[in-house]
């Protein structure tokens, strides 16, 4: 019994992480480059090929993987080897672990670990990601890396508060912190026609959450810890697979944010207005999972679009935005939500 349980859990992990998340992350690296090229009126990467198959450059991620594995694994002089080794691992692992509580479909079978306080788990485990940034920058014995790490730590700590607070409103509305309960709650219809999605009952919360979580992901317009154009970020000294790990983490985080947002604000696997009568149950389940994946991909696309169309912030603007705009707004959001809930 125990072994069966372990085996099934392992299988779920494999399917979710390797087949879905990592694949999607890899494809996203290509999407990002193609999309930025389109936005900037270029062609972008399209030449990797096996035999005569080019597939619009979709093979680039595979080529990149081979490149990352075969490049020299360089450790700078004076680097702290242990932490240098640990940092990328912490970054990727903490991000991947968050997928454990995301419900991909109805019922417990489609969640790796159905926890009662799943959202808190994500916030808790996600906060380990900071260590990847901070330790990585410090361990590489490089002042630019250290600067990036300091900026990263400050930025992540600042925006984590907003990110967490904006989920409180949703918790209050649906009265639960369990993600599967949240999704179930969003299956209802308001006034008979409007799906009671998180984004409908907590629009401000969603916008703030998206902003804060994009800042958590350290991508433009919040890319100061990486700072391609100004200082080189916390992974400046990382090469080969270690760099690839950081790089992949960034894209996995995009998927994670999309998955959280889809679960909490867009009804998870719920398909609104769906009348299940007369359709085989298995088919509906597949459709629901498919719809959830579709939501995730759409939200990934939204993040890409934002990343390539907005100019970046200055550092002081970033901090002002976080502490003086987003934080008060999210507190106000909670207060208003609480009042409305108390009145209704």
């Amino acid at each position: 019994m125990d072994w069966m349980f372990m085996l099934i859990a392992l299988l779920k992990v494999l399917v979710v992480l390797v087949v879905f998340v990592l694949m999607l992350g890899a494809v996203l690296t290509w999407v990002e480059r193609r999309m930025s090229a389109l936005i900037q009126d270029r062609l972008g990467p399209n030449r990797a090929q096996i035999g005569n198959v080019r597939a619009w450059g979709l093979l680039h991620p595979i080529a990149d993987m081979f490149k990352a594995f075969t490049k020299e694994d360089f450790v700078p002089a004076g680097a702290n080897r242990m932490l240098f080794f640990l940092a990328p691992a912490i970054a990727l692992a903490s991000t991947l672990a968050c997928f454990a509580v995301i419900p991909f479909g109805p019922g417990e079978h489609f969640t790796i670990a159905p926890l009662d306080s799943g959202m808190l788990f994500i916030i808790a485990i996600g906060s380990f990601g900071i260590y990847g940034v901070a330790l990585g920058g410090w361990a590489s014995n490089n002042n630019f890396g250290l600067l990036g790490a300091l900026r990263g730590a400050a930025q992540l700590v600042s925006y984590e508060v907003t990110m967490g607070l904006n989920l409180v409103g949703v918790f209050a509305v649906f009265g639960t912190m369990s993600l599967s309960q949240l999704v179930l709650g969003q299956g209802e219809l308001l006034w008979g026609w409007l799906p009671k999605w998180g984004v409908v009952v907590q629009p401000v919360g969603f916008v703030l959450f998206l902003i804060a979580s994009m800042a958590e992901n350290k991508r433009a317009p919040f890319d100061l810890p990486e700072g391609e154009s100004e200082i080189i970020g916390y992974f400046a000294e990382f090469s080969a697979m270690r760099f690839a790990t950081f790089f992949l983490t960034e894209f996995v985080e995009i998927v994670l944010i999309a998955a959280i947002a889809a679960t909490v604000f867009f009804g998870g696997w719920q398909i609104p207005w769906l009348d299940p009568q007369g359709v085989a149950g298995g088919f509906i389940t597949v459709a629901q999972i498919g719809f959830f994946v579709f939501k995730i991909i759409a939200l990934c696309w939204l993040q890409m679009l934002i990343r390539w169309t907005l100019p970046r912030f200055r550092y002081d603007q970033l901090m002002n935005l976080g502490w003086k705009v987003l934080l008060p707004l999210s507190l106000a959001n909670i207060v208003v939500t609480a009042i409305v809930l108390a009145l209704s």
Binding site: N80, L86, S117, L120, I123, S127, F128, A134, G137, W138
Partner: protein, 176 residues
């Protein structure tokens, strides 16, 4: 059985991590010590999970790993302390005496606590109590009813801390 194995792994990790925070070869590097402390905190959360105090475990990680330790790391990085900034460890008579005293007291406390634990009987929770024990809902209710006063007074504690931080860090002649 499996639970015991997990417990011993976690407990060993907690103790080793805590030792690594203070015992010289590892603790010479402040960041290493910080990482060791982080390990201790995280594994402690694992122990809480085994006691089915899930919320406590998560809070342990959010508060200690996510907030407290990252500030430690931040401060260490800002100061940018490296090994050469520390004088080599010297073993003095005071340290030996202190270590001996600490050892004696620790063993004494361990004995006393062990004796106390062995005489304690386990508390029987009903199934209903058990299912909600340590849940967000229960803790929330407790905070808003029985522990409302301490909960609110904590706000004043935080306020004092904020004012204090402002006073200590203000620039000379800046604020009046």
């Amino acid at each position: 059985m499996a639970e015991q194995i997990v417990f011993y792994i976690l407990a060993t990790g907690v103790l080793l991590g805590a030792l690594a925070v203070v015992v010289p070869p590892f603790a010479r590097n402040p960041l290493h010590a910080a990482v060791a402390l982080l390990t201790t905190f995280s594994l402690m959360a694992g122990l809480f999970v085994m006691l089915s105090a899930h919320l406590l475990a998560i809070l342990q990680i959010v508060v200690y790993a996510g907030a407290v330790m990252i500030l430690f790391v931040f401060a260490i990085m800002l100061l940018n302390l490296r090994k050469q900034d520390f004088s080599p460890a010297k073993i003095t008579a005071w340290k030996i005496l202190g270590a001996a005293a600490a050892f004696l007291i620790a063993t004494r406390i361990a004995m006393v606590a062990g004796a106390a634990v062995s005489t304690h009987t386990a508390v029987d929770l009903s199934l209903e109590q058990y299912s909600t024990f340590g849940s967000v809902h229960d803790v929330g209710i407790a905070l808003a009813t029985k522990y409302l006063l301490p909960f609110e007074i904590t706000a004043i504690l935080l306020l004092v801390a904020v004012i204090g931080a402002l006073v200590v860090t203000r620039r000379q002649g800046g604020l009046r």
